[in-house]
Symmetry: C2
Subunit: 574 residues, 2 copies
Amino acid sequence: MNLPDLLAVARGDAPGDLLFTNGRVVNTLTSEIEELDVVVFDGHIAGLGSGYRAHRTIDLRGGYLLPGFINGHTHIESSHLWVGEYARAVLAHGTVAAVSDLHEIANVAGLFGLRQLMQAAEPLPFELYLMAPSCVPASPLETAGAVLGPDEVAEALRLDRAIGLGELMDFPGAIDGLPRVIDKLRPAGDRLIDGHAPGLTGHALNAYIAAGPQSDHESTMLEEGREKLRRGMYLMIREGTTEKNLEQLLPLVDDGTWPRCLFVTDDRSAADLLNDGDIDAIVCKAITLGLDPIRAVQLATINAARCFGLRGLGAIAPGYRAHVIVCDDLRRPQPRQVYFAGRLITEGGRALFEAPPGEIDARLLNSVNVAALTPDSFALPVVGPRYPVIEVIPGQILTGCRIEEVRVVNGRVEADVERDILKLAVIERHQGSGRIGVGLVHGFGLKRGALASSYAHDSHNIIVVGTNDDDMAEAVLAVVARQGGLVAVADGRLLASLELPVGGIMSLESAERVAERGAALNDAARSLGAQVDEPFAVLSFLALPVIPSLKLTDRGLVDVERGDLFDLTAMRED
Amino acid sequence: MNLPDLLAVARGDAPGDLLFTNGRVVNTLTSEIEELDVVVFDGHIAGLGSGYRAHRTIDLRGGYLLPGFINGHTHIESSHLWVGEYARAVLAHGTVAAVSDLHEIANVAGLFGLRQLMQAAEPLPFELYLMAPSCVPASPLETAGAVLGPDEVAEALRLDRAIGLGELMDFPGAIDGLPRVIDKLRPAGDRLIDGHAPGLTGHALNAYIAAGPQSDHESTMLEEGREKLRRGMYLMIREGTTEKNLEQLLPLVDDGTWPRCLFVTDDRSAADLLNDGDIDAIVCKAITLGLDPIRAVQLATINAARCFGLRGLGAIAPGYRAHVIVCDDLRRPQPRQVYFAGRLITEGGRALFEAPPGEIDARLLNSVNVAALTPDSFALPVVGPRYPVIEVIPGQILTGCRIEEVRVVNGRVEADVERDILKLAVIERHQGSGRIGVGLVHGFGLKRGALASSYAHDSHNIIVVGTNDDDMAEAVLAVVARQGGLVAVADGRLLASLELPVGGIMSLESAERVAERGAALNDAARSLGAQVDEPFAVLSFLALPVIPSLKLTDRGLVDVERGDLFDLTAMRED
């Protein structure tokens, strides 16, 4: 930016590029609405008030002008969209900046993956900020495609646009002050460290916060969120595809707490981004639930900017970036137009620019490496009359643990479709080690067939749920054949699929196409009996061994509270 | 700090150093008061809640525990106290951290002076932060002891504890985007740039803010403060010795603006620090004026910390520094005790530690260099029947400009005591150049004698006001003989004095002694007829050519709005 030229426009001595007139400007700095003109030059707000002129004038005819939304915490890989398509999708909903913990791609492809994605984002009309992933892999109880030790984390923190350390999921290690965690905190310096502390309270929460994390997006209960706010964490109110916490947490936002609250999506599917929206959807829902519209906009803009120290974002004021949203109804601030750096880039919910994926490095396109696999690979030996079963909890990424009598056939534990006890397996897919963890899950509801995915938090091994070993094998082989993807299989036949060739986690297709394929996959899953909404999203969290309580990785069943593999010897009949 | 040990205390696995019990903790993060214990270890807050133990327990018996106060903008040199004495004085009032623009010492002794002062602060139980002085000298229309160009500013920004760029007083240069200003902004990077924009509004204010400054402490009027808040500046509400803006600006603090407001002192005398207080005095006054006590504490703590990005300050939460205040009445939160890093350092308004000045470098102790001077040096030639007169405005550092008929004797303009038009002079004292600016001032009220000072913003030349040239010369020579100080002289006799040997601006005496000498000087000034409160503080601003409207420097009368020397040819009789 040429500062002297910007100042000439601000002084009124020279015309700006763009002048917004007859607008009602949402002032996130003073919690007011002001009726005044806004002049833009060279991608920045130059001035507000009367007496300005510009080469082009936009008459807002009483519409509202608000700062572009900021997503305070997301893993963009969860949309399965490569970064250009992701940006197109969320910009249409007014999100101009996302703080992204890219630990999905990092689990697959390490620093190389991080760099590739950040570089692909550079030319886009979008501000992608990086939280350097702190926990790759999330736990030593799983196998990822890469390990980021303290040196690699420090290197990630040196990347352009790295503004902090990503969610510190290893909360037991942080609380205990283990070197494997502490050594990764130091290079963050004064930058924000994102927390991840589901259900943590009391002394343990104090210790976790004292270790460094200053934000948390895992609160699901009112008192949990209240305690985290009180002890010093920014309250990131999450509305993801499967994780919806706004209704529970909104009462915490009041005149004395609002500066420390913000909105995040964590994980949102392409279909949700297209049909429901991104941060705008949370803003609308919060207003519907009773939050003052200006305050809702503040949580979606300036509060995120302040949390991360992003100067120049989150407000419409001189010197700030000219990322602005035009909308007609402040009680439902879905963007009519979005301007990025003073340039109109989306209108009526449609991006006005293209962002083809370009050349993707071959190393990212060949990431699935699985050893020979047959239906027998899913054999589950009997350890006793009962077996631990992962319990799906609707609307949560938390799971329960049930100890159930199991169906035994020929000395093996088998799925018990009648009682909705299905087989679940996680197949290591980075090193071709042949390692498979097999377990049981309740709550999916499949009556036949199998669902498989190479998108499984956080290591992104292949996860498969099924009613029989044959279909499970078929489904996994279909994922392998595509070098990553989601598939639904029944009776040996492929019903639906989505290819995810980039690291086995992201598509090269458009958001619309990904959403369409996703819908077809959901339809197929439903036709097989699936009873959960978003079965593939639910599936993707069943392998995440840092969210309580029972999870499955390529190394076996994980007892998350205990931080170790589940002790199956306890299942033996004495 | 040993983090693993701190975490052991936070977990409750090991005893802390100190446990505060039965206290009411002011939570600046949620705007609440909580009744819970606070455990401290190794200078930090380890945890809050029950079930903690420590080697020492402090029973607060229902008293309040609040975070130590932070002064968001001050020039500590204005107290005339060397840094140890300054810290002792303000710590007694609960100020544990000060953000100081050390442009007074920098005007006298450049980077060398900055370094000496910051080094002297290092071992103290006090957090002194540096805003790198941006305008040394404040204006090209005066002569300072040093010039900080862009390279020197960049070097100052690299000092430990440099957290931003000091007040950008050259607002005309900033608004016009002149390289002399712009080149100093760049090295600040993402750090805060303090503004200084008295009376600025509209397009000019927009341009100034677009240039970089994100805070302002010069608002004196409600609408002025409102516009600055709206356009993106942190509102620093100032209560100095001569500048009192709280009553005017307090209505701007509401539920939607409070996070962007904070308290500052700018310039406070030693007597004020001892008798009235520091930030605590502003907090008390704000509460008396109707501000909610918790909010008043927030403006004095967390808001300043957030404004400057000072992590670990401004709240009582795990991992934060254990700088806390104990007080009995939250409606009048004057500290009963102050703890710095968990150590009791002041009690009942008295510091429990000594901070002798130590060895001061000889270069700082020999800073006054004045050419030969006689009563004739103050001769003021006649330019016409009228002459511009600086008008003192009580309670403001702004001045007016009156064009008055003047008393002429033997072809020279002389003081006119009857009409309270006195002579004012500024004598260059860094280079021994012999340069003297002479003018007239109204509003002082002296009936005889003269007052002189080597503390004159910002260049700290020697300023003298008097009823006759003989006493003026006598007074200046008395200042020179002391290598800096304040003096009151009448009929050739010294009535009172305060030596300021450090750079001609700071004493090596205790706060009590400086205050006592200051009181004697004020008494002497009153005995000579002075009608202003704090005559030496008022005098010190008459040479500051960046505060409107008429000022005097060693180069002559300055028309501040015009940004140039006053055009005396306009006074000629045509």
